[in-house]
Structures are given as structure tokens and as C-alpha cells.
Symmetry: C2
Subunit: 684 residues, 2 copies
């Protein structure tokens, strides 16, 4: 039925287009010597960090690979290593292009104006987007084709997630350490403007944008994307084994994903901005076209493969829920909307009220998303029953629906830090005010796109882990009890019965994990920031010429502090997330572990969304004041808003995004190790 053709074909096309676009971006003029010098420093820093991070990662991957080959066999272990490597390569190539695109965006703005500048930034981001979907789908198709075994596929997914956890947590700590330190000492104590070359932390800050936002977000979505496809495939295997379903349901997730890549490529061909158009409108147009194309392709594929029609409706429901999350995030974080402006207004009353407002609006923002995900899930279930499809499969498919156009999402997301960096380079290179304000427009569009994609990413992660939860339930053979109305004979040990203390305990402990990991990461940022602040103060003291502009600060020292701190600090949260599900399973049983996953999904979703949105709202409340409201820059209100923004930094860029990955990792660990855990657990 050509599923393999679709899987290999679309992924290869995606990778080929990505490489071509990378080549195109690289061919663009790299700018003046001063600009190239700054870009080079950022490039070096980012590369140095990724290199050391990847060494750490490889050590972790090797340990895990040994553990996997001892417990689950060599094939799973090999798949795990490949999952990790594919994810790393996608991240490295994407980032290499992004750090080249930034300076070229600046130069294009200087020489050719907004249209070319936007094009360079967006295409730079697209390299990352296409690399992510291409390498992910290629890997899945290959491993399915070669081994046709769901344990192997889970291994591949776990490999991708391990990388994501480290990149998200490490990159998140790195970027916010540098950002907060640069702000607190540079802006507040020394009175330097943003991105001033006299600030010793400025390069570390720019590097952070790349390692945190580009590489981090990419591996986050890579991980969700792979996990959502494989969760559905695992359920497809169980359907074939237990219900005698067609193998179509095993490989159809690959077909759905291939459709998404086609839609992304079609959307991409519309990239351009009209003369006086807002760059944000262009980003939204690309997304909209991709969504519509995707729905049409899905319809065609379901018809062509003679698949169950419930699949079409479930995918559409997932897409809609994702769009709702994006819109909500936009409402709660956009500079033009009430919540952000209320937070800005509250800054007049004082810092504390700004903090309280931002915190509260962030929490209020979880309501539509939660209800949207709940409705999508219930809809996918009952529409599946209606069309006589195994209902758990319908839920898993909804998650893929949400993630289908992930190529478009990652492209828009990677565009953000490229534009941000381009602006930074322009400022450090002392370009004229109109160039900076042009790049500022590109940057602002990036911020909105980032907020929307973040909401999307969190929603996708939530549905993915619900699918993984279902896959886990299938693997440990929990009974579904779909057919209601008549009594059935069951083994009580096969039911995830919430009226049991082990199950409730699993739920409570699982619910505790996401906030606790968040707190660990925020404490890590706080500790690391204090070290860097100390260093910046020392640098300025040692060389008084730095502030006068006669001496150059030692940028590398700040880069190295951010780097070492991030790598040191990610170990404990990383290990905690890896070990907690295994310990819960062993001490409380495999059913308690299922409840653990459910609990972690509930709070993981809440915290990821609230932290992302609070952070976004604080950020834009500050920008709203800087636009001249409530006293403008330098007023008391502005000082309050700066504190809010700083509090929001690790919320939205360290803890929040790591949670997505963390709940995926925990779900995958549970599914992968389930057979072993069931053997040695103290409770059934």
C-alpha cells in the first residue's frame, strides 16, 4: 500500500529541502567584519556548549544502552542509540544553520530590506523544522521496516526523549542563567542597554537563545512527534495481536505523519511577505495553509488506504484542540490583549502585585486548554466506538493530528531566536536605528509565533502522553472494559481501579513530580545565576575599561560558567525523572505506575501551560510599558515589570518546556521497562 514509499519518500524530501535551504542561507552575504565577529562568537559559544553537552549525553546514552541491552536485548538498545543520535543530528544541523542565519538576517535587513531579511530568518528556521520531521520519520520507518517490533520502536522513541530531556533542561538552564545575569547586572546595576557589547554576559545570552530556544524546542517537538507516532503504532500492534486487526493500523501513523510533511512543504512554498505586511501575518498564513492542506491530505489518505473514518475525525479533533491551545496562549500572552495589559497596569501598584497578577493569569490560562484536550479525547474515543475502531487507538491518533504539522511549528519557532539574535547583532554592531526597528518588528512577530507554538507544543505533549499512557496500559495488559451494560469477568489485578491505596499513592506521587522537577530547575538557574553575577561584577572591577568601552570583557568566562553550571545542574533532575517511575513501579506495582503517569500528566500539563503563559505575559507586560504606557521605560512600573519578566524567564524557558519532555520520558521509561518492572514489583 505504499506506506513505506510515503515514509521514506517524504522524509527524504524533507531532509533534502532542509539541506538545500541550509545551503541557500549559507550562501547569503554574511555581513560586515564587525557583524561576522559577533556572530562568530555566538557560533563558537553555541558549538562549544552543544559539544560538551553531547559528550555528557553520550555518556548517559551509553549507560542507558547497556542497561537496555542487559534487560530488553541488543536490538532495543541499538534503536535507543539511533533515536538519540538522529535527534542530536537534527539539533546540530538546525542550530548550525540558525547561528549562520542570524547575522545574514541582520545584513539582509541592512542591504535589502524587510522582505529578504524575513526570508533568510524564516528559511533558517525551516531547516530545523524539516530536519526534525524528516529525520524522525526516516528513523521510525526504517526501524519499523527492519525489525517490526514495538519494543524496538519504544527504544527509538526513548532515545529521542533522553536527548530532549537533556537539551531542554540543560539548554533551559544555560539560556536563563545568561539572560538573568546579563539583565540583573548589565541593565540594572551597570545601566547598560540590552545586548550592549560592554556587558560580559552578552555573548552567553545570545548563545543561550540558540541552545535553549532553537536546539531545545526542536528536540522537544522531535520527542513529542516520535512518541505520538510510536504510541499509536504500539496500540496498533496490540490490536493486531489481541483483536486480530489489520496491520494497516500499525503503519498508518507513518502515513499520517507523511501527510503532515507534505502539508508542511506546501505551506512553506507560500513563504513571503507583502510590502507593508506584518511578518506575524505571514507566519500565521503559512500555518493556516499547512493546516488546511493537512486536513485535505488526511481525507485522501484515509480514503485511499481504506482506513477507518474515525481516524480522520480523531485527527481533526486533535488539530482543533491544538489550535485552541495556540489561540488561548496568544490571548493570555499577547501584548494587545487584556491580561498582559492588566499585568502592566498592576506594575504601577508595585512589584508584588505584578508578580501576583502574572502568576494568576498564567493559571487562569489553563482552563480552555484543559477542557479542549478533555473534549478532543472524549470525542476521539466515542467516534472510534461509533466507527467500530478500537477507542484507545482513536485517542493516540488525535495526538498525531495535533503534531502532524510539527514541521511548520518548529520552523516558526526557530525563526524567533534567529530574529532575536539578528536584532542583538545589529545592536552590538551599532547599526542605525531604522535597521534595528525593522529587526525589532521581525522579532516581535517571532515572539507571538513562539507563544502560539508553545501552547501547541504543550497540548501536543499532553495528548501524546495520554496516548503513551494508553500504550502503557496495553503493554501491562490492563483491562479496558469498553463494553458496558453487561457484567464481565475480570482479574482485579488487571484493572486500573482508582479506589485502591497503591493507585491513589501512585497518582499523588506522579502529580508531585512535575512541580518538583520545575522547582529543581528553577533553583538550578538561581544558583547558576548567582555565580555568573559574581563573575560579571569581578570582571567589571578587574578591568574598569570595560564600562568605558576601552577594554573588551572576557565573554568566554561567562559562556563557560553558563555551560558548566547547566551541565552540572541537569544531572539530578534528569536522573530523578528517569528513576522515579521505575521506583514507583517496583515499590507500588505496575498499576500504581499507570496512576503515576496519569498524575504526572495532570500536573505536568497544568504547570507547563501556566509557567509558559505566566512567563510570556510578564515578558510582554514589560514590553507594553516600554512602549510608553504607565510611565514607560525607567518608571517605577517598568522596574516592577522587569522583576516580573525575570521571574518569568525560568518559568517559560527552563521549567515549563522541560515538563513536556519530562512527562514523555517518564511515560516511555514506564512502557519500555514495563516487562522488567512487572517481574520484580512488590505489588501486582
Amino acid at each position: 500500500m505504499y506506506w513505506d514509499l510515503l515514509g521514506y519518500g517524504t522524509s527524504m524530501v524533507a531532509i533534502a529541502v532542509a539541506l538545500f535551504l541550509g545551503y541557500y542561507v549559507n550562501k547569503t552575504e554574511p555581513g560586515t567584519e564587525r557583524m561576522r565577529e559577533i556572530a562568530h562568537a555566538i557560533h563558537e559559544g553555541a558549538r562549544a556548549f552543544l559539544k560538551i553537552q553531547d559528550i555528557y549525553l553520550m555518556i548517559f546514552v551509553v549507560i542507558m544502552a547497556i542497561a537496555l541491552s542487559l534487560t530488553l536485548g541488543v536490538l532495543v538498545s541499538i534503536a535507543y542509540v539511533f533515536g538519540a543520535i538522529f535527534s542530536m543530528i537534527a539539533g546540530i544541523i538546525g542550530m548550525e544553520v540558525a547561528v549562520r542565519a542570524n547575522v545574514r538576517t541582520t545584513y539582509a535587513a541592512l542591504k535589502e530590506g524587510v522582505r529578504k531579511s524575513f526570508l533568510v530568518a524564516y528559511l533558517g528556521g525551516t531547516v530545523m523544522g524539516l530536519m526534525v520531521v524528516g529525520s524522525a520519520l526516516a528513523g521510525i520507518t526504517l526501524f519499523y521496516d527492519l525489525f517490526n517490533d514495538f519494543q524496538v520502536l519504544l527504544g527509538f522513541s526513548l532515545g529521542a526523549s533522553s536527548v530532549a530531556l537533556f537539551t531542554k533542561a540543560g539548554g533551559g538552564i544555560y539560556t536563563k542563567t545568561a539572560d538573568i545575569a546579563a539583565d540583573l547586572v548589565g541593565k540594572v546595576e551597570l545601566g547598560l542597554p540590552e545586548d550592549d557589547p560592554r556587558n560580559p554576559a552578552v555573548i552567553a545570552d545570545n548563545v543561550g537563545d540558540n541552545v535553549g530556544d532553537v536546539a531545545g524546542m526542536a528536540s522537544d517537538l522531535y520527542d513529542s512527534y516520535v512518541a505520538s507516532i510510536i504510541a499509536a503504532m504500539v496500540i496498533g500492534y496490540e490490536m493486531a495481536a489481541n483483536l486480530g486487526s489489520s496491520p494497516l493500523y500499525i503503519y498508518f501513523p507513518i502515513v499520517i505523519a507523511a501527510g503532515g510533511i507534505i502539508a508542511t512543504l506546501i505551506g512553506l512554498s507560500w513563504v513571503k511577505i507583502h510590502k507593508h505586511e506584518d511578518p506575524g501575518a505571514s507566519l500565521n498564513r503559512i500555518t493556516l495553509i499547512a493546516v488546511i492542506t493537512y486536513i485535505i491530505i488526511l481525507y485522501a489518505f484515509v480514503w485511499w488506504f481504506k482506513a477507518n473514518w474515525a481516524i480522520f475525525y480523531a485527527t481533526a479533533a486533535g488539530l482543533l484542540a491544538g489550535a485552541l491551545m495556540g489561540i488561548t496562549t496568544d490571548y493570555y500572552t499577547s501584548i494587545d490583549k487584556k491580561p498582559t495589559q492588566k499585568i502592566a497596569e498592576a506594575s504601577v501598584t508595585g512589584t508584588a502585585v505584578n508578580i501576583l497578577m502574572g502568576f494568576s493569569y498564567g493559571i487562569m490560562s489553563i482552563v480552555p486548554g484543559t477542557i479542549g484536550v478533555a473534549i478532543a479525547m472524549i470525542f476521539a474515543w466515542y467516534i472510534s466506538i461509533h466507527f467500530n475502531l478500537y477507542p484507545i487507538y482513536g485517542i493516540a491518533i488525535a495526538a498525531i493530528g495535533m503534531l502532524g504539522i510539527v514541521g511548520t511549528i518548529v520552523s516558526a519557532d526557530a525563526y524567533g531566536p534567529i530574529a532575536d539574535n539578528a536584532k542583538g547583532i545589529a545592536e552590538q554592531a551599532d547599526l542605525k536605528e531604522d535597521i534595528i526597528s525593522l529587526l525589532d518588528r521581525l522579532d516581535a512577530a517571532g515572539n507571538t509565533a513562539k507563544a502560539i507554538t508553545k501552547g501547541f507544543a504543550i497540548g501536543a505533549a499532553a495528548l501524546t502522553v495520554i496516548a503513551l499512557f494508553a500504550a502503557y496500559a496495553e503493554i501491562v495488559d490492563l483491562q479496558l472494559l469498553v463494553n458496558v451494560g453487561e457484567n464481565v469477568t475480570v482479574d482485579p489485578n488487571k484493572i486500573l481501579n482508582l479506589v485502591h491505596p497503591n493507585i491513589v499513592a501512585g497518582l499523588l506521587i506522579g502529580a508531585m513530580m512535575p512541580p518538583v522537577i520545575s522547582a529543581m530547575l528553577i533553583l538550578a538557574v538561581s544558583r547558576n545565576t548567582e555565580v555568573m553575577i559574581e563573575d560579571i561584577r569581578n570582571q567589571v572591577k578587574e578591568k574598569p575599561g570595560i564600562i568605558e568601552g576601552t577594554e573588551k570583557p572576557d565573554y568566554a568566562r561567562c559562556v563557560s560558567i553558563a555551560e558548566k553550571g547547566a551541565l552540572k545542574e541537569l544531572i539530578i533532575p534528569g536522573i530523578t525523572a528517569t528513576i522515579a517511575p521505575i521506583l514507583t513501579g517496583i515499590f507500588l506495582g505496575v498499576r500504581a505506575l499507570a496512576a503515576f503517569l496519569a498524575g504526572s500528566i495532570a500536573t505536568g500539563f497544568i504547570f507547563a501551560l501556566f509557567m509558559a503563559n505566566s512567563g510570556g505575559a510578564w515578558d510582554n507586560a514589560k514590553k507594553y510599558i516600554e512602549d510608553g504606557h504607565f510611565g514607560g521605560k525607567g518608571s517605577e512600573a517598568h522596574k516592577a515589570a522587569v522583576v516580573g519578566d525575570t521571574v518569568g524567564d525560568p518559568f517559560k524557558d527552563t521549567a515549563g518546556p522541560t515538563l513536556n519532555t519530562m512527562i514523555t520520558v517518564m511515560s516511555l521509561i514506564a512502557s519500555t521497562f514495563a516487562p522488567i518492572i512487572a517481574l520484580i514489583a512488590f505489588f501486582p
Copy 2:
């Protein structure tokens, strides 16, 4: 078997002792004219607030009573009204004594020194403690004796909880509006010291301590206490009906509670402080004696009533878990411990780092409590199975164990605001520095006691709602599946199976409720504070003599703003908490409603604990700096810590404590309306 004698006897003795102590405190010298004048203003303000709040409450109670009598019959409705009235009366009497005890504590410090002063403050608090347990147990015993029907008992409990929800939310908004406004304008803008009579909000602030901390905390624990006893009784009814158990298990919770009152009275007889003793040590001694006595009495009662020994062990496990929560809270919020001092140190780096640290340590503090509650619950279950007791009953009993000595807890808790007020009155009356520092010692002891009792209260609420969750499961007839190892025949609609979208949706929506209600309450405080700040600024502008001390501010205006705002703002969160479980039940089914409760327990526990402990830690980090560390008062670090303290105010005194009550109310609503919901729900 004398259970009625114990129920009536101990509750009557408790009420009699409370009235006698109230008389004794009232007979103590009320102080100089200036002191009485200040105390009078506080008294008036508190009384005015309670009066209006009780009018609002009565309207709500009447509406609910009508709804209950139309759906569940007149008896349930009557019990509901009595539960509400008993709780209100306990609150009113306790607060009337507390607002008399404050000025008498000040005067005793002036005339007779620390020992008498401590005695007046503690006995004033004890009136509240004994009124709470006395009236609660009297009501439960009476309604059980008269009607012997669990629906009626649930009605009584729901009445008490409705009052608690309003008092906690209303009082919490009131007290923090006044506190934050008084701080932000008074201290920061006008540079006035704490409790300065020139601050227009000073009386509102003092009133707030009484309505929020005394009346609020009392009704919170009243509510948990009643709910824990009645949850166990409901399960006892189900055991008698379905398993043919002895009626002993229905009334034994009353016996356990009576034992707790005896232990509280014995602990109380040890109240005194030695000459150079820390008042905090004395409070801890009273608690310790009550705990030990309680365990001995329990042992004796189980033996005398020939009850199941599992009851003894389960109660002890509950008590231990409660103690663990108290100790954890103390560690994370005490001024002598690492977390608070680290937060203080972080204030040197800046406000944002202070906020991030306090937030993170508050979250870290949930770990021991969560694991402790999980272990207590699992232990109670398996020890019950071991002794052949219905295991759900064992869990309910563990909750009563935690709440047995609630009389002691409330006494220590009410002592805090009395000492706080006494210090405030001393400052407003310009007493000498040594008297103020003496009262400061009493106040500091109160803060620690308050932190410990808060941890205790949250743990108790968590176990209570787990017991209520179990009671709900019994009422809607969910199957337990205790006997494992062999297949059983079940009705799938009777199993709370977590692998079902409605159940997962219920869990997600339930988990969303506590954070959302918290955010609503914090936004309410923010809004209300802005109004009051505006008014204070206007007052100072209208009468310039206020700051010079030649004109008196209009205290009543601030009192009225706090009052009106609090009452207006509590309506929406109150109604949301009441209606959400009913809507979930109707739209997703009674099993989804059970999962809703489980989700709300998980996040309710997490948010209540984290908010209380973050708030406490921020508060003490500020005090630590004020003690002369990191630059002391007036330094940049101090300013940062003041912001942290202000952010923590609504965390620890509005949102956090309301959550306890909210999850109890939602559980009781679910249990009480279960028969109706089951009839009209869209899903089984």
C-alpha cells in the same frame, strides 16, 4: 457501650471549659484608655465584617437549604442549616474572645510580665479551640442519635463546610487586602513603621488578622474535623448495610473524637511557661502531651469497646503523618533553617531571585508530606486487611487520627493572631520598647506554631478528602476489588477504571480546579488591594495632618473597602467550587466525578502545601534580614525580601488555606448530591 455518653459528655465539657475560659479572659484587666480605644476599633471592625459576612452566608445557606430539601428531603436540609449555624457560632464566640484577649495580653505584658501575658493569649486561643471541637462533636452526636441516617450527617458536614469556604475565602481576601495595602502605601510610600496609627489601613489590617486567621482557620479545621468523622461514619453505614458489620463502626468515630477532646483538655492543663523559657517550647509541650495522651486513650478505647485493633494502628499512622507534615513545614519555613536563610541570601542578588527561590523551596516542601500521606494511607489499608477490617474504613480512620487533637491545634493557631494583635496594640499605644520586644517574642512563637499547625491542617484535609473520596465511592457503589488473585464478575460501570476518557477527563478537570480557584482568589486580593491603596493615597492627600499626626485617618473607610471587596470577590470562586463537581457529574458521569475528586485532591494538596510554605518562608526570610543579616532593614536585600513577603501573603493566607476547604466542599457536594447526579447524568 456509652458512646453517646462520651460524645455528649466530652463535647459539653469542652464547651463549658471554653465558656469558663472566655469568662476568665474577659475578667482580666482590659488596659489603659488608649489601648482600649484601639482594641475597640479592631473589635468593631471584626464584628462588622463577621455580621455582614454572616448575612451573605445565611442567604447562601438558605438557597442551598431549599435546594437540598427539594432534592434530598427536609431532614438533610435541617442538618445542613444546623451544621452551618454551629460552625458560625463557634467562630463568633471564638473571635469575640480573641478580640478581647489581644488588648488584655498587651496589658498583662505591661503589668505582670511574660507569664501572665502568655497565659491570657493562649487561653484566649483555647476558647476557640474548645468551641470548635465541642460544638462539632455535640452536633454530630445529636444528629446521629436523632436520625441515624448518613445523608443527614453529610448534610450537617456540608453545612459546616459551606461556612468554612466563605469564611476562609472572605476572611483571606479581607486580611490580605488590608495587609498588603497597609504595607505598600504605609511602609513603602509613606515610610511609616508597622502598625503605626497614622496609617489609615492599620485597623483594617488588625481586623484582618482576626477575621482571616482566627475565624478562618477555626472554620477550616472545624470543617475538616466534622468531615473526617462523618466520612468514616458513612463508610461504617455502608459496612453495616453491605457486609453486615457491627454498628460499632458507625459510632466509633465519635468515640475516637471524644478521646481527642479528653487528650486536648489534659494537654491544656499543662499550660504555663517557665521563667526564661521560650513561649514556643511551651506550645510544643502542650501539643506533645496531647499527642501522647491521645495515643494512650485510643489504646484504652479500642480495648474497652472491643473494636478492631487495626483502628488503633491506623489512627497512629494518621497522627504520625500529621506530625511529619508539621515538621516539614517547620523546616521549610523556620527562620533558623537553611531554606529561609537561602531565600534571604538570594535577596541580595535581587527581587526576582528571592521570588524564584521562595517559589521553588515551597514546591520542594511537598515531597515529604506527599510521601508521608501515601505511606499512611497504604499502611492503614493493609493493616486493616491484616486485622480483617474493611480497608476503606482504615483509611478514613487515619484521617480522624490526624485530626483527633484538633482542639490543641486550633488553640495554638488562634494564639498567634492574638499575640500579633497584642503587639500591634502596644505599638499603636506607644508602649515602651521592652514591652514591645516581649510581645514580639510571644508573636514569634505564634508564627512557628502557626506554620506547624498549617502543615498539620493541610495533611488532615488531604486524608479527610481521601476518606470522603472513599465515602463517595461507597455511596455511588463503585466496586473495590479487594480480593485479588482470582477472577471476579463485575459491572464495568461500577469500576473507577482510569483507562477511560471520561475518567481521565474528570481527573484533568478536577486537577485544574485548585490552581484555578487559587488564581481567582489572588486576583481578587490584587483588585481589592488596588482600590484600598487608591483610598489611602486619597486620605493622605485630603488630610495632610494625618502624616504629621495632627489629624486622625478615617479607619472605617479602609475597613469598609476590605469588607465590601472581600464579600463581592468570594462569590464567584465560592459558586465555582460548588457547581463544578455537579456539572462534571452530570456531563461526564458519577465515575468521572470520582476521578474529578481524585484530581482535585492531588493538586489541592500540592498547591495548599506549596503556597502555605512558600508564603511562610518568604515571611521569615524578610524577618531574618530584619534581624540584621545581609544588610538588615532598609538594605536592597530587605526591599527584595519585602516584595517576596507581599507575594507570599495571599499565597499563605488567602489561596493556600482556602484550598483545604474547597476540596472538602467539593467532595461533600459530590457525596451529598450523588443520588441525584446519578439519575440525570449523561454517562454512567
